[in-house]
């Protein structure tokens, strides 16, 4: 019941919720150590990004493939399972990917060390 009302509201007054989305993304970006945030759709088009276009497109393309691979790996091992989050820690920073069917939320952070 609560969800349908929310959907209705979103349809009727999307601005409210859009503002929320904005706020969420801004909040994530403001955390300590976060270098960049981006939202990419399934085709690799960057919807929202705080980095420059070329970097974003690069990240989008590569991470999309990687996420697909990771998801398929998890599901192959156990079909009941699904990928919820992907974290890649490298020497310089950590890339975090929150996958969804259509969109990818990617955050690059410098962990505290």
């Amino acid at each position: 019941m609560g969800v349908t009302t929310k959907n209705l509201l979103v349809n009727f007054c999307p601005d409210l919720f859009q503002a929320e989305v904005e706020e969420t993304l801004k909040r994530i970006q403001s955390h300590k150590g976060v270098i960049g945030t981006m939202v990419v759709n399934a085709e690799g088009i960057p919807i929202r990004t705080t980095l420059d276009n070329s970097t974003t497109v690069q990240y989008a393309g590569l991470l999309h493939q990687l996420t697909m691979k990771a998801r398929s790996t998890v599901r192959d091992i156990d079909p009941q399972n699904d990928l919820t989050f992907l974290r890649i820690r490298s020497k310089k920073h950590e890339i975090m990917v929150a996958p969804d069917k259509e969109y990818l939320l990617i955050v690059i952070q410098n962990p505290c060390e």
Partner: protein
């Protein structure tokens, strides 16, 4: 070329496994065929002049050279088989071919994704269109929901990262601790038994200086004049690999009490004899004595300690004996000692006052000092380089109640030394001359020998007269030995640790030498052990010094008080006290006796009359005893007090 019928018997001819034979030799063939050899020979002859000529080929009609008709008789050797099993396969016939493809070159290339997959109607280069598209997507309901969800998860992880470093290495800076948790243990590896029938005790052991693969054992009977008739004087050198037979036999004229390898020259051994002589062997020369000191100038008692000195020539040594003398020798000239020092602590060099030396100690890092452990229980520290004889004796340590059987400086801290005697082992410091700084408790059996471990400064070994070997580790435990092993049933007389600290040899009363191996924990230097051991030594030394100082103060005070009092009233007081004591004691004594008598009488009344007489007799006997003992009361008490102080030798 003509084919000629050549007889085989004419000589060796090239035999070709060829078709063709001359008709004349067909008979031969038939014969050979009949024999079953089937050797067909074709022979041709060529003139010498024709050698090397070119081949002239020509056409020729076919000629039949050989015709072998079938021989039906042979068929009788075979049998027809019916039915016959054969495998067949109904499949496509295949043939195997190999093919090698051409080398295929591969290259790895990356593709730079410049733009995402924009839908066809949007031109990625036009900013307006892209913005419009984006805005459209952002308005999408699905988008909003999704982002809210993902945002939550993402935030959680971002915060997590900020909160803690999940890849932090803990305990990075600590080194891998070698924890030797294993309990100390030792096991017997080998036993060397005295092959002689009349068993003698193994009184001294010495390890071979190079490689420690040999052990020299001195055998003798130390019981005074109780050496059985026909006891052999021989001592042996054992090879660790062969415990059944000694490798070398050393034949002295009198049994050896001590035996030492020369640390510089592993062929030379020094032995101290029971009759006081010093003997020297060279294992290359055989088992008879190479050099022997003259009886007149030797010791008068068995030689209990012999040690090689660190000299350039490697031929100097010194010996000590219970006759009270310490003599220095050069083995090249054993007829007379180079120097003699008498262990007279009153410094008057009187042999009559001298203390018998039973153990000797010398550390090569302190070449002028040496220590002597005496039969009377004292340890004397001496300086060889002193100018006068009297100055040679530097100081004495009170030592033990009985002979000091072993004396050794700690190889890591030479200021501290270990002495073993009576029922304890004591550790001394040169600075503390009145008492030892550390000592073990009094054991049930005499301690016969002791040694420090050459690898660990806090470990030492002791042997007891009940056949046990104790391994002490005072960094680990101070009250008891870290390990106590019963090696054999008879008494152990001597002990020697190998240079690497891992093997211990101990000799017993029946001449059995046991070889033990200790666990790794006891022969590896523990972390921080040197510091711990040195701090223990220092602390104990300080404690002893403080106690000494206090004792001295107290003694001075008492002396002062005693001199202040008058003498006469002191004597009277003493006598009065004595009389009172006597009276009191007598009273108590009589009371006890009377009560006993009464008790016996009551018991006797209960029993039948026959036994009545005995308690009465006893009562009569008790009375005169009581009177006689009353006078000796005082003396008895005094005797009782002194009793425990005497120690039976």
């Amino acid at each position: 070329m003509q084919t000629q019928p050549v007889d085989k018997s004419l000589g060796p001819l090239p035999s070709h496994r060829d078709w063709g034979a001359t008709p004349a030799s067909r008979e031969q063939e038939e014969r050979t065929q009949a024999a079953g050899t089937m050797e067909i020979v074709y022979v041709y002859v060529k003139k010498r002049s024709e050698f090397g000529k070119q081949c002239n080929f020509s056409d020729r009609l076919a000629e039949l050279h050989i015709d072998i008709p079938p021989n039906p008789e042979l068929a009788e050797q075979f049998m027809e088989r019916n039915p016959v099993d054969t495998g067949i396969q109904c499949s496509t016939s295949m043939s195997e071919h190999e093919a090698n493809t051409e080398r295929f070159e591969m290259e790895t290339r990356g593709v730079n994704h410049v733009e995402g997959g924009w839908p066809k109607d949007v031109n990625p280069l036009e900013l307006e269109q892209t913005i419009r598209f984006r805005k459209k997507v952002e308005k999408d309901e699905n988008y909003i929901n999704t982002i809210m969800q993902l945002g939550l998860i993402m935030e959680h992880c971002v915060k997590q990262n900020n909160a803690i470093d999940i890849y932090q290495e803990y305990f990075d800076d600590e080194d891998a601790v070698e924890v030797t948790e294993e309990a100390p243990s030792a096991k017997t590896i080998n036993v060397f038994r005295d092959p002689q029938e009349i068993k003698r005790s193994a009184t001294h052991l010495s390890w071979h200086p190079d490689g420690n693969r040999k052990l020299a054992v001195a055998y003798s009977c130390l019981n005074f004049q109780r050496a059985p008739e026909g006891m052999s004087h021989d001592s042996y050198i054992w090879d660790l690999e062969s415990p059944n037979r000694p490798e070398t036999v050393l034949k002295p004229s009198s049994p050896l009490v001590t035996l030492e390898y020369n640390p510089k020259d592993s062929h030379i051994l020094l032995g101290g004899c029971y009759n006081g002589q010093i003997a020297c062997w060279d294992t290359r020369k055989g088992s008879l004595v190479a050099e022997l000191s003259t009886i007149e100038f030797s010791h008068r008692d068995p030689v209990y300690g012999t040690i090689w000195l660190q000299s350039k020539t490697g031929t100097e040594c010194f010996s000590a004996s219970t006759d009270g003398q310490v003599m220095w020798w050069d083995i090249r000239k054993l007829s007379e000692p180079t120097e003699v020092v008498i262990m007279d602590i009153t410094r008057k060099e009187q042999l009559e006052n001298a203390l018998g030396a039973i153990s000797l100690e010398f550390e090569s890092t302190l070449p002028t000092k040496f220590m002597v452990g005496t039969e009377q229980g004292m340890v004397i520290s001496c300086n060889r380089k002193a100018k006068t004889q009297a100055e040679k004796i530097v100081c004495t340590f009170p030592g033990h109640h009985g002979p000091v059987y072993a004396l050794q400086r700690n190889p890591f801290y030479p200021k501290n030394f270990l002495t073993v005697g009576d029922w304890t082992a004591r550790i001394w410091s040169e600075e503390s001359r009145e008492s030892s700084i550390m000592w073990t408790k009094y054991h049930m059996a005499y301690l016969s020998d002791g040694a420090w471990s050459p690898v660990r400064p806090a470990v030492f070994f002791t042997t007891k007269m009940d056949g046990t070997l104790d391994i002490w580790d005072f960094v680990f435990k101070q009250c008891d030995p870290a390990l106590s092993l019963k090696v054999c049933d008879e008494a152990l007389f001597c002990l020697r640790v190998q240079d690497n600290g891992g093997l211990i040899a101990c000799g017993s009363q029946l001449g059995t030498t046991t070889l033990l191996e200790v666990s790794q924990g006891l022969c590896n230097l523990q972390r921080n052990e040197k510091n711990t051991a040195s701090s223990i030594f220092e602390r104990e030394t300080r404690r002893e010094k403080i106690l000494e100082a206090r004792h001295r103060e107290m003694r001075l005070k008492e002396k002062g008080k005693a001199e202040g009092r008058e003498e006469e009233p002191r004597e009277e007081e003493v006598s009065i006290n004595l009389e009172e004591l006597v009276a009191k004691a007598e009273e108590e004594f009589f009371n006890v006796i009377y009560s006993e008598m009464k008790r016996k009488e009551t018991e006797a009344l209960k029993k039948p009359t026959e036994q009545k007489q005995s308690p009465e007799e006893e009562a009569e006997e008790a009375e005169p005893e009581v009177q006689g003992q009353g006078e000796d009361e005082e003396e008895e008490e005094e005797e009782q007090e002194e009793g425990p102080e005497e120690t039976p030798h």
